[in-house]
Amino acid sequence: METPNSKDQRIDDALDPVGVRHRATLREEWPLLVLLVLVWGALWRDFSPGNLLFGALIAVLITTLFPLPPVVLPGRLNLWYCFKLFLWFLREVAAASVHVSYLALFKGRATRSSLIAVPLRTESDLIVMTVGHVLTLIPGSFVVDVDRRSSTLYLHYADTEDEQAVERARSQIRDIERRLIMAIGSKNEYEAIKAECGPKFSARKAQ
């Protein structure tokens, strides 16, 4: 069911049909190694070059001894949009926390929710996963199931009692996807979002 050019955005399974394990090359996974080294530094509370070098050695050693299926990084990173995404995320979490607290305290048993299907535009496993992660972290919604073939998320959304609320929730999730693609999406998907929303990304068009 996959189109040929979507293949490179999918995370390969650990073993291919012949039974050979895929190994990520250093060029594919250096950003993850850098993260691992930062974790090492944080744990030791010591970011001196010597300690970081030792951490890098251990990172390489661990990833060679215990390989995981390679993570396909989109190869694009916009730090400004990442920063904006982070600020937006904090604001959204704060607002939604208040909302869910209100539901817990005053609405309780009368809360009605929906299971919503949200088809995403992206074909990248990483983006689908990150969208699911972000929306689960924002109170009021979490992912129940995923259809990988069509990049569809099935999520539970609290306090949706009519069609309007469901549609609003759906467009909200697609807005998360838009922000994530702007921050870390691959070049093609970034251009597609740009074409859809205009060069300034300011206008959120109705789907």
Binding site: A42, V93, A94, S101, L103, A104, L105, L115, L137, G140
Partner: protein, 128 residues
């Protein structure tokens, strides 16, 4: 300045703890498994962040910030996974109360797939 920072830390700590308290209350008051999961998994994000900020302010040390950021980051990475796993298995083992659900598009999708599978396996039973 010191007093101000102490008050700030105290305020953050209390708000963070209140969020956890509300989550506990939500566990009691929400109607079914999936809605309760919202209460069970969410306060970590904001509540933990506030408590970590309060801790960093209280300790007056930049050295703990990476550790706290790491702890928060790990929370962010793991909390959704557990919510997803519990929600998914809860849904699949039919522990979802349909009284508290307005619309269920996952059930529609599952029905569609099942119908397709029946179609693939052979001709549908003849109806008279």
């Amino acid at each position: 300045m010191d007093a101000f920072l102490d008050v700030l830390a105290a305020v953050f700590l209390i708000i963070g703890c209140l969020l956890s308290l509300v989550a506990g209350i939500g566990l009691m008051t929400f109607p079914d498994l999936l809605t309760r999961l919202h209460a069970a998994t969410k306060p970590q994000v904001l509540g933990f962040l506030l408590i970590f900020i309060a801790l960093a302010i209280h300790l007056r040390s930049w050295a703990v910030v990476p550790v706290l950021a790491l702890a928060w980051g790990m929370q962010l990475l793991t909390a959704p996974v557990s919510a997803h796993m519990i929600g998914r298995s809860g849904y699949r083992t039919k522990h979802v109360s349909h009284k508290s659900i307005y619309s269920d598009e996952l059930a529609e999708a599952i029905r569609a797939v099942e119908a397709e599978q029946r179609h693939d396996q052979g001709p549908p039973p003849q109806q008279q």
